[in-house]
């Protein structure tokens, strides 16, 4: 089980360790890497998804998404951050490494994504040079990589 999207930053930093400007939505995107079909994702949506009792109680919810939804840099699997928690979950959740997350956000390029990456760069929690290097290895069409490259370059001059 892999956490992608903004919430994956919590695999590296505690809530207190993050700048207040690095806000996230209340949705955590989960990918089931070994799944052959959508069933585990659909189960997540039913049990702890949007509008569920879990959502009401905790103020966060999970969304089962397909691996193909995220544009990621080559080699991301080697860099995932793994927790070995025994309390709440049966499986060890894994999280995208923070520079891979940033590169993925720059590929999307939505305003909120750029604000999120910017907040982490400004707080010194991301190395812009590493983000730029990861962007070069994004597994995406040339146009997407080019757009992400331009956004990454803008962060290096901050």
């Amino acid at each position: 089980m892999l956490v992608i999207g903004s919430q994956s930053i919590l695999g590296t930093y505690d809530e207190d360790g993050l700048p207040s400007a690095a806000t996230v939505s209340i949705e955590a995107d989960l990918v089931f890497l070994g799944a052959r079909d959508r069933r585990p994702s659909d189960q997540v949506n039913v049990l702890i998804g949007e509008g569920s009792d879990f959502h009401a109680t905790h103020g966060v919810y999970a969304e089962g998404v397909e691996r193909g939804v995220a544009i990621l840099p080559r080699g991301w699997r080697r860099r995932v951050v793994t927790w070995h928690r025994t309390d709440s979950l049966p499986a060890s959740p894994r999280f995208l490494e923070r520079h891979d997350l940033a590169a993925s956000k720059l590929a999307r390029g939505e305003e909120k994504d750029l604000r999120f990456v910017g907040a982490l760069v400004d707080a010194g929690l991301l190395d812009p040079a590493v983000v730029a290097a990861r962007v070069e290895t994004l597994e995406a069409a040339a146009g997407v990589v080019a757009a992400a490259r331009a956004r990454a370059a803008a962060f290096r001059t901050r």
Partner: protein, 155 residues
């Protein structure tokens, strides 16, 4: 900072004529601001092609909208209680979204319905941090999700 687009840029993104964009502005279908004599439109106010999970969320919110129009006080009250409770949690990192929802709830039912059902980027982002949890009965919610799953499968 919000990206501001010209009517020509909007036309290019929507795949229509600039005149159509002007018409949408004049009809009140597209929010705009005036910079001198020129209309400028915020990128996040444009309708956009939604991702699969955004479409599922829109589907769910249509069901919630049904509950809302049947009993606005109950549904809005539930949403307000959720927001208050979540904002108070030390683990909360979604304050701007949750506070935006508080403002929308204060604007009344029509504003809420608009955000629940609008295809704009802004509305999709707000739905992603929806306060409408625990509004539908468990079996009703599961039926709604099942309908979406079936719909997606047959598409």
């Amino acid at each position: 900072m919000d990206e501001l687009l010209t009517t020509g840029q909007v036309a290019a993104r929507l795949g229509c004529t600039r005149q159509h964009v002007v018409d949408l502005c004049e009809r009140g279908d597209l929010p705009f601001v005036k910079v001198g004599t020129h209309r400028r439109i915020r990128a996040r106010d444009l309708p956009r092609t939604l991702t699969d999970d955004q479409r599922r969320s829109l589907w769910y919110h249509h069901a919630v909208a049904g509950a809302l129009v049947a009993d606005p006080a109950e549904v809005l009250g539930r949403a307000r209680d959720n927001l208050e409770s979540w904002l108070a949690k030390p683990s909360n990192r979604a304050t701007p979204w949750l506070e935006e929802w508080q403002r929308i709830l204060d604007e009344g039912v029509e504003s809420v319905l608009d955000v629940m059902t609008s295809p704009t980027q802004r509305a999709a982002d707000l739905r992603q941090s929806t306060p409408f949890a625990g509004v539908l009965a468990r079996d009703e919610r599961e039926r709604v999700l099942q309908q979406w799953t079936d719909l997606r499968r047959s598409a």
